[in-house]
Symmetry: D2
């Protein structure tokens, strides 16, 4: 028996679930876990199902797509043993990368990492020591367009399903963001929408907040405005300088980004309007 993960999005209407479960039963499948959400504000139905079946994926896909055709859904079917491929991008800071690689090595993150790309050489040795190919794509104002072109090619060649910006410090172009909409995850080092922009920990110190946080979100052309996937906070007090907040915040950034990557790779995150629906 093979384990499958099915994702479905459609404008909500009666009968979709029953038709879908019918397709699963028709191919000898047994549902192990399922969750769904009908978003009133966007009208979108989001469904995630895990099931077992002895049939081939193509047989199942055909059965489901044909059966559901009148609902015009977007259907994604993945063998549970096929892992999502994440292309990770970094600059010089390595704390988020360190956590992703730690969980990757232990099999805690259900991903493959075909390569890690950076605009600097600093982290090459860390990456290569982990047995992952490292690509250096320097970026200047003059070369930005060419750099993004090269990056696009690498995404395609590597078969990456999504991109993780693990404290990658370059802003991506609107075109690039649009091309990979819903497929680029960024970690912002504040509890958005507080402290957008640069030096959020210094802003947090200036405001005297009692909790600092981090936010993982899909990247859109509007900086720091993309749909939020995951957030968390940690308690701080008056004794922490801005520099100390940076240190404390690293732990939250690591945790939040790894959790967002796990949710995305596990097919649990659905874009619905400007928000995410998380079927966890």
């Amino acid at each position: 028996m093979e384990r499958y993960v099915l994702r479905l999005r459609a404008a909500d209407q009666p009968g979709i679930i029953h038709t879908m479960t019918g397709g699963i039963v028709a191919t000898g499948g047994n549902i192990l876990d399922s969750a769904q959400y009908s978003d009133e504000s966007s009208g979108q139905l989001s469904v995630r199902v895990e099931f077992e079946s002895e049939k081939d994926p193509e047989v199942i896909r055909t059965e489901l797509v044909d059966g559901l055709a009148r609902f015009d859904p977007i259907v994604e079917l993945r063998r549970g043993s096929d892992r999502r491929r994440a292309l990770i991008m970094v600059s010089k800071l390595d704390h988020c990368l360190d956590d992703l690689l730690y969980r990757y090595r232990r099999g805690e993150l259900p991903i493959e990492i075909p390569m890690i790309v950076s605009n600097h050489e600093d982290l090459r040795s860390v990456v290569e020591a982990a047995g992952v190919p490292f690509h250096h794509i320097p970026v200047t104002a003059a070369t930005k367009a060419a750099a993004e072109q090269e990056l696009s090619s690498l995404v395609q060649e590597s078969g990456a399903d999504f991109i993780v910006l693990a404290r990658y410090m370059q802003v991506l172009s609107d075109d690039f963001c649009a091309r990979f909409a819903g497929r680029i995850i960024n970690i912002h080092h504040s509890f958005l929408p507080s402290f957008k922009g640069a030096k959020p920990y210094h802003q947090a110190k200036g405001r005297g907040v009692k909790l600092i946080g981090a936010t993982a979100h899909y990247v859109t052309a509007d900086l720091d405005e993309g749909p939020i996937i995951e957030q968390d906070v940690v308690r701080v007090d008056h004794r922490s300088s801005a520099e100390h907040l940076v240190v404390i915040g690293r732990d939250v950034e690591r945790k939040v980004l790894s959790r967002a990557v796990q949710l995305h790779a596990d097919d649990r995150v659905f874009l619905s309007g400007q928000h995410t629906v998380i079927l966890a």
Copy 2:
């Protein structure tokens, strides 16, 4: 359109979900929310579905029960507007009662409270001020059997679906526990299985723990061993005396019991072997 909540338990096997969704579709229903879990250790499938339909509950129930008969399931169907009825029991401490009544008055807890029963008179005025009938059933070693008989009658007369022990300080008999298995919720003032038995906060102080907690569980004949519904903890330090831990702990007890009552009343808690499955 009427909103319905459907609960289903059965030995897991292929086809149950599809048959169930078929029954819902057949009565013109549209699924709004659904969750299920197949427990490998107990073999039990637990399902909770919310759906809308214009049909009467009896029509729907018949459709579902007939359609699903070959799976020999336990099916419960409730109109969303019909609230579960909770008979609350107290002794002298009122902090859990206070929180339940606060949320009840505001409509945060989806329950009706037909009456509150106590083995003491102390809280009569608080209860009656909230507009809820108060019944005093004193309990001594000699009268315990008769007291439980009276309590059973009150449960029946009041149409209570379940019993909440909001710091009720009498141990119920094995017979009573068995009769209402899975329908009595107790709050224990420790993070079980730590500190079973009496004076758990004094035990916690003696051990020097850095977190104290509370546990809401179904009552069984084995004291403090029933299936756990909800737990939470709060951080403490060396400065708290045992008496201060009692004060701090009250907040956790209130929160944990109210959350357990909410989950149960919302039909989200399923007994599965010695554990609970929470479809939240």
Copy 3:
């Protein structure tokens, strides 16, 4: 032996602590608990000491003030048995008031409540049932100045040490804020600086955040910009409507405001520049 709480603020310089402890020893005092913080950014030393002594407060105060005179400090001495007096202000929402009164009745909040003031009559019966005097001061654009004058008089007559805005929905004038600087605590129903202004839960829903929060702060002429005393958050997900966020948020508001009132009443909050130092 009487228990005393001593607060001291001064521009930091060597010798203050030793002089202060000398003054305590000179009056036969024994220190039970002490904490201090020297804020580099503001240059202010904040000190809180609890000690026991058999001497009268006037003797101790004189000893301390004379001994410390060359450091030009602000010294406050309070008998531990003298509770800070809190004048509470409400409008129509009662969830924060309910929590304050619950903890007040049980002795968890070290305050006296001489009266509760509201710009509406709605909560009169709740307040009077708790045995606390209720004053109605209606506020319109035309009567605002007179209303604040009446409020000032009530603060003076009641001997209130500080004012708690427990979801009081009127903006206080700059003059009033300045007059009671560091003595008015407000609860804002968002995790500031996110979602300033009106309808923060609707803003939160709009942005799709995964945590919502509340902030207790001292009131200044800059709305929602005063020094933060306490903050907390709670996890939410896509299923919560804005109206449901309002319900969930009430619990955080209650908790955060009560904690801020406790810290303030226990003399643990020090203004230092635009921030607070909490010696907890």
Copy 4:
């Protein structure tokens, strides 16, 4: 100016703090941070002070020790720039070691690691890649005494101040525990006192708890009974198998052990009777 950390323990009595601050003032010191706690149950006063002074440590120590002699205290003085030396012990599991090394490399943990000792060879390459000497001391029933003798020698030679058992799977002898009382930190993979002994995550699964945790404690001859330094928990649900709880629990173990090491190395943990006082 040099920064110093002073720790003091003594039977509590009036005048200790004033005498101590007098000693600091006498050597030109300025107090930056201080905390103290008088434990009623054990009668012990615990004090931690950070101060600046231009004097040499021997001058300060003499001044303090002589001045305080009549109180018969235990006084420890450390230059802030002198880091506590931690000898880390591991077996085959590397998740706690990984977190300690990560924070060590970034300077987040105020320690030196003179060496890492293991009863297995498995982690040699990880340790040596971090630039830390690795010592293999195999342990069998027959060689246990000799192995502990070798370990004692290594502690002495390396100048280690304390020992960290980062999932070291051998039980230390009573003699060894007594010799290094208050200087060996262990991480237990449960929220003690729940689930003592072997396979705590399997015990937790068996009981159906809703939170799992970890406990860092000083090692004593009574297994799993030593004074607790730090604890934390994480929420789990019915979906996690015992094996999955092991994976989830690793994150809590890492966090709790690193925090305990930080508190100990920062001189903030005081043994007081069977408990710890944490002056954080």
